[in-house]
Symmetry: none
Subunit: 198 residues, 4 copies
Amino acid sequence: MARTAGSTAAETVARLKEASLDLFAREGYAAVSMRAIAACTGVQAGAIYNYFPTKQDILVDLLAGHMQALEAAWQREEGSTLADFVRFHVRYHLTRPREMFISYMELRSLEPANFTRIRDLRRGYEAIPRQMIEDGIADGKFDVSDPEVTTRAIIALLNGLTTWYREDGRLSLGEIETVYIRLVNRMVGAREEEEENV
Amino acid sequence: MARTAGSTAAETVARLKEASLDLFAREGYAAVSMRAIAACTGVQAGAIYNYFPTKQDILVDLLAGHMQALEAAWQREEGSTLADFVRFHVRYHLTRPREMFISYMELRSLEPANFTRIRDLRRGYEAIPRQMIEDGIADGKFDVSDPEVTTRAIIALLNGLTTWYREDGRLSLGEIETVYIRLVNRMVGAREEEEENV
Amino acid sequence: MARTAGSTAAETVARLKEASLDLFAREGYAAVSMRAIAACTGVQAGAIYNYFPTKQDILVDLLAGHMQALEAAWQREEGSTLADFVRFHVRYHLTRPREMFISYMELRSLEPANFTRIRDLRRGYEAIPRQMIEDGIADGKFDVSDPEVTTRAIIALLNGLTTWYREDGRLSLGEIETVYIRLVNRMVGAREEEEENV
Amino acid sequence: MARTAGSTAAETVARLKEASLDLFAREGYAAVSMRAIAACTGVQAGAIYNYFPTKQDILVDLLAGHMQALEAAWQREEGSTLADFVRFHVRYHLTRPREMFISYMELRSLEPANFTRIRDLRRGYEAIPRQMIEDGIADGKFDVSDPEVTTRAIIALLNGLTTWYREDGRLSLGEIETVYIRLVNRMVGAREEEEENV
DNA sequence: CATGAATGAGACTTCATTCAT
DNA sequence: GATGAATGAAGTCTCATTCAT
């Protein structure tokens, strides 16, 4: 049949991405079928192929789109301290829990070329706190025994939000931000004065 | 056909679990087929059903087995401080990265009844540090602004090891343990004296 | 959208037929999609339906068109001998190898009604050499053991050109014509004098 | 479900090949679906994949099997003259019209690597009459104006049987053999004495 | 007339699972 | 206990075709 009255490509793509994001986050990429995505979107499975050449391309689109938006948002933030970064990171992800979740759960579902691309985007983003920590140590503002492990642990901590955060939780976004900033400051051994300034 | 010479049921089950653990960790439960498990094991797909009624049961077996072994190991450990727990947790998981990985990645692949069962086992284990933190706060040994978020963050930090640890990494198990204990102590605001005693 | 500048219906139909002819000859009717035809033509798949009601109609159009043009060309030729016919047939087809090819390869792709129609056109054309051979035998000019088999063999021989002829081959059209006339003359046992007169 | 009582692999493969041969010959490889083959065989489409990794492999199996059997049959024939070959070729193929048909109709359906393989088998077989004609010319037994075109025309003639032969035709196999031998002898200008000796 | 969004059927193929042997 | 033949459902993806725009 022909075009459904009133439908446009932009809307359909948006609905497809939204449905895919939701399903991938809830059930995992491999467990989601094109038919399931179609059913959530109100189109036939075949129609998806007007917008995405393969199922993998939907995932790549979501992941790359998220990483680029994240990077761009940080640029606009104009933050400079590690605390700025933590606050930004927590706030950004807590309002996009599904993106955050698939972003580090579904890397293994990517074909090699796509994996490389997304991994590089991630590395670019994670280089931001990494650099901050290294600089802080060099400047004597931070006191850290093993920069490598500490950096990875902080990143793991930030990503770990994914594991437990639920939008309907009883903790406010602001509270979580504050606690995370304090935790990170403690992890890097920032002086208490600085901690209080957050 | 008769039993393959020299194989026993126990051995076959062990091989099946080992192969499944490996494949689930690497590719994800949904992406692994019974034939793939069979191929890794030198058994026909049909023969797997002599040991496990369904594919889901393999996963449940792995997850429940891991949680029970983990719990039992902690009992034997006879540790009492949060630092004891962190050391135990890191050491235990770094030698079983695949179990740790699927243990929190594949919860969503479980059917409801199985999910409830495994989640309860997890909660039981995570209650250990949770209680320690609460007690520490009550005793005035820890200084924490939000116990709830802090506890979750610490658990997320511990689980996050999964994300970056590779057995061939250049960091020794002991080094990682030490850094993690210090980080956790800082997160809970343990007095420095205690930190040094770790 | 409005018509693409400079294109007329006649031109578009011609492009569609040319592309279809090429694809059908190379890959076979069943293996060619409307999208493939569209892609070769610079038209959207949907637009093809402005010119042909179905994919089958494109094939019918090509086959019927070819048979009618072939018949008409022979009428204009005003030949009378079997040698005339062979020369005409070879020359006509060697400049239209794709039409010749689909003309006897794709009969089976026709729906019953279309099949009957095209088969009748073919029979009309093949009746020409058939009649010539029968007449030649009746007149004592040809010496043939089994007219039926011989006729079919000659037709098969002529159609067989398809199988091996390539436009870039090193044999000239004239050479092939000459050889084929001699072969056919020999097959029907025509007297040598006649053979030389070709 | 499990094995149908009494079924064996050898039987199922045989039924699959027979059904595929029939369908490919009648409708063309591209127009035949795995479901259609399955339906003719009394199994589910999926069961075919226990025996053939892909649809293409069925075709390759049929074509390669035919060419090898053909070559082997000619070896056993111990013929030496062109007439021997023609008789063999006609007889062999008229009892296997479907194999003959797909053998030169479906070459284009082969993927490149498979095409090369089957084409080489064909070339090996066609080298037999080619050599005979060349030798006959060299020995002065044949009188031919253009060996190249003549050879190809003869092969086309032999393959052309495909086009018109139907098993229910009213012509006996022996009659067709005889006529074809005579036709070929005439095409190569063999001396009449030899022709009579066939 | 042309576009392009959509359908619904059906393509090849893989899957978890079953069960006669 | 193990094999391997088979099922039936479902997977990703393509197809001819339609029709709102």
